[in-house]
């Protein structure tokens, strides 16, 4: 087996057994990146020299000792660019490490490479990046999903052992599903967001992309915990998220939300997910039908709340303190307006305008306040469902990866791609996507993702349920032909 195709855990075993060193791992990644990234387009930049210095000094006895981890271009790593794939932050150099980066380093990991994304994490295909196209490693004419499309593509293409992404409405789980890797969105507040460029602060959460569920648990072990720098991070004990891995599924109850098995799902996605559910039954889990009656309102609630918060968060890009400033401003207002108009891409402008509108005087109650109330009802749906079951099981995305360019020009259709992932952000639950099969479309073999949603703070249980299925299949061992 090639070194670059090892899982994080397998790589670590090699380090600890003395067969490989962290420098070998970096060499292998660099080689793999030069061989395939010209076609995949996942990486925006590589901090080779610093990573090599860190690898040479790595302590492989630490929990993630010597493991290189790719970072979505929305998380600050001191000395690296951090552009959120936007022209407005071109030339910006991070002046500090995000808390997740500090914690990865404390666990011995090496932040290596910046990966592409939709501009400011707004999108479901990574086509909104102002900097670069990223392709799906399984079919280079198709999108990798988004917004963390680069994070998913580099793991799926064996150009990274693991990566970090962020999930505001599905931006970790949907690209993981479309690229055939494991993507975990922790509970809102489980992982600090200090140093994450904010999109929608009541929804954003950082999480890992990995090749296996065990790797996901190990990275979460390093990331989780209260951070005084992020007042929304929760002051609750951090579990060992590998603790329940290997436990069988006897007595585990999984809920199939009937609203997530509807007309309009790609029949091959539906078939793969239903086969996974039968597999869970065969493994001893009990499957029951549950209802999340407000599901159909989740996308509408999300596009009000997320755009409202984004319009406020993105007010800071004004050309004063960092990033781009328009040339030769006539006055202060002209500087603000031209900096923002030249610096932001189309989708970002669209969302800022929508968010500004729903917060504006006269419309606040009708849109924003009403959306927040329906959000309460969506949360209550989950609370009630979790009284009956240990986790929910459903598709991650209603479809497989679509062709590059297929959705541009139809924002509403693009927004509906997130229909099964958005509610977990609104409710604050944890969720994971893992591979559960393939769809054959026009000669391509495209990954299908299975989504499991867990109660807030029950990541250990969620990961153990995901792990039991994964270990009974071979989907996670499949690799794209690149």
């Amino acid at each position: 087996m090639d070194l670059h195709s090892l899982s994080l855990s397998a790589l670590q075993a090699q380090f600890r057994g003395g067969a490989l060193t962290p420098l070998d791992a970096l060499d292998a990644l660099e080689k793999r990146i030069s061989a395939v990234d010209g076609r995949v387009g996942g990486y925006l930049s590589l901090n080779r020299d610093r990573a090599r210095a860190e690898a040479a000094a790595a302590d492989v006895s630490l929990p993630l000792g010597g493991i290189p981890i790719a970072i979505k271009d929305v998380i600050n790593v001191q000395g690296d660019p951090c552009t959120a794939a936007s022209r407005i932050l071109q030339g910006y150099t991070a002046t500090y490490d995000a808390t997740v980066v500090r914690k990865l380093r404390a666990a011995g990991a090496i932040p290596f490479g910046r990966v592409n994304m939709d501009e400011f994490a707004m999108g479901s295909s990574t086509e909104n990046s102002a900097l670069q196209r990223t392709a799906n490693p399984w079919d280079l004419n198709r999108i990798p999903g988004g917004s963390s499309g680069g994070s998913a593509a580099v793991v799926a293409a064996d150009e990274a052992f693991a990566s970090l992404g962020s999930d505001t409405g599905g931006s970790i789980r949907q690209p993981a599903a479309l690229c055939g890797c494991v993507g975990l969105k922790p509970t809102y507040g489980r992982v600090s967001r200090f140093g994450l460029i904010a999109f929608a602060s009541s929804l954003d959460q950082i999480g890992p992309f990995t090749k296996t569920v065990e790797d996901s648990a190990r990275v979460l072990n390093a990331l989780a915990g209260k951070d005084p720098q992020d007042s929304t991070s929760l002051d609750l004990p951090v579990d060992d998220y590998t603790r329940l891995l290997g436990r069988d599924l006897k007595g585990v109850k999984l809920g199939m939300p009937k609203e997530y098995f509807i007309d309009g799902i790609d029949p091959q996605v539906d078939a793969a997910v239903r086969a996974a559910i039968r597999q869970y039954e065969a493994l001893g889990a009990e499957i029951v039908e549950v209802s999340l009656p407000h599901t159909e309102y989740a996308v509408a609630v999300y596009y009000i709340i997320a755009t409202a918060e984004a319009s406020a968060n993105l007010a800071r890009y004004d050309g004063v303190r960092f990033g781009k400033r328009a040339d030769d401003p006539r006055n202060l207002l002209d500087m603000y307006v031209r900096t923002r108009s030249e610096g932001f891409g189309e989708e970002v402008k669209r969302r800022i305008i929508l968010g500004t509108y729903v917060l504006s005087s006269g419309y606040y109650d009708a849109y924003y306040l009403r959306a927040q109330k329906v959000r309460t009802l969506i949360r209550q749906d989950f609370t009630k469902a979790f009284e009956k079951v240990d986790a929910l099981i459903c598709p991650t995305s209603p479809e497989v990866a679509f062709k590059i360019g297929d959705r541009s020009g139809d924002p509403l259709k693009m927004y509906l791609a997130d229909i099964f992932t958005i509610a977990a952000n609104l409710a604050g639950n944890c969720g994971i996507s893992l591979p559960c099969g393939f769809a054959n479309v026009e000669g391509s073999r495209l990954p299908v993702g299975l989504q499991l949603l867990g109660k807030p703070m029950e990541e250990a249980k969620l990961l153990s349920i995901a792990h039991a299925y994964e270990q009974s299949t071979r989907w996670h061992k499949e690799r794209p032909a690149l």
Binding site: Y303, D318, R321, L332, L354, Y357, K373, T376, L377
Partner: protein, 94 residues
């Protein structure tokens, strides 16, 4: 709810200037999105409290004490223009 979004006016509030082509395109796309979100009118929300965020954490305080933080040089290191440890912007008052 009514879809009376005036894209140009709202863009101005957000300090954005749109080209004619952008304004026309956004107007029609956002009218469509607002048409979609109007389905929230169907939901009975009487007596329902709004949710601002899901973690139920409120009023988080820290010690009011000074800490090591960015030096002025670091804080200014990404400034488009700077002088005398200050951010420089176009003149505000004539």
């Amino acid at each position: 709810m009514s879809a009376e979004l005036n894209v140009r006016h709202t863009a101005q509030l957000a300090r954005l200037e749109l080209t004619d082509a952008e304004a026309e395109k956004f107007q029609s796309q956002l009218n469509q999105v607002l048409g979609y979100v109007r389905k929230l009118e169907e939901v009975d929300v009487s007596g329902v409290e709004p949710t601002a965020h899901s973690s139920q954490v409120h009023n988080v305080f820290r010690e009011d004490a000074s800490r090591e933080w960015f030096t002025p040089e670091v804080a200014l290191s990404n400034a488009p223009r700077q002088a005398n440890q200050l951010f420089i912007v176009p003149k505000v008052l004539e």
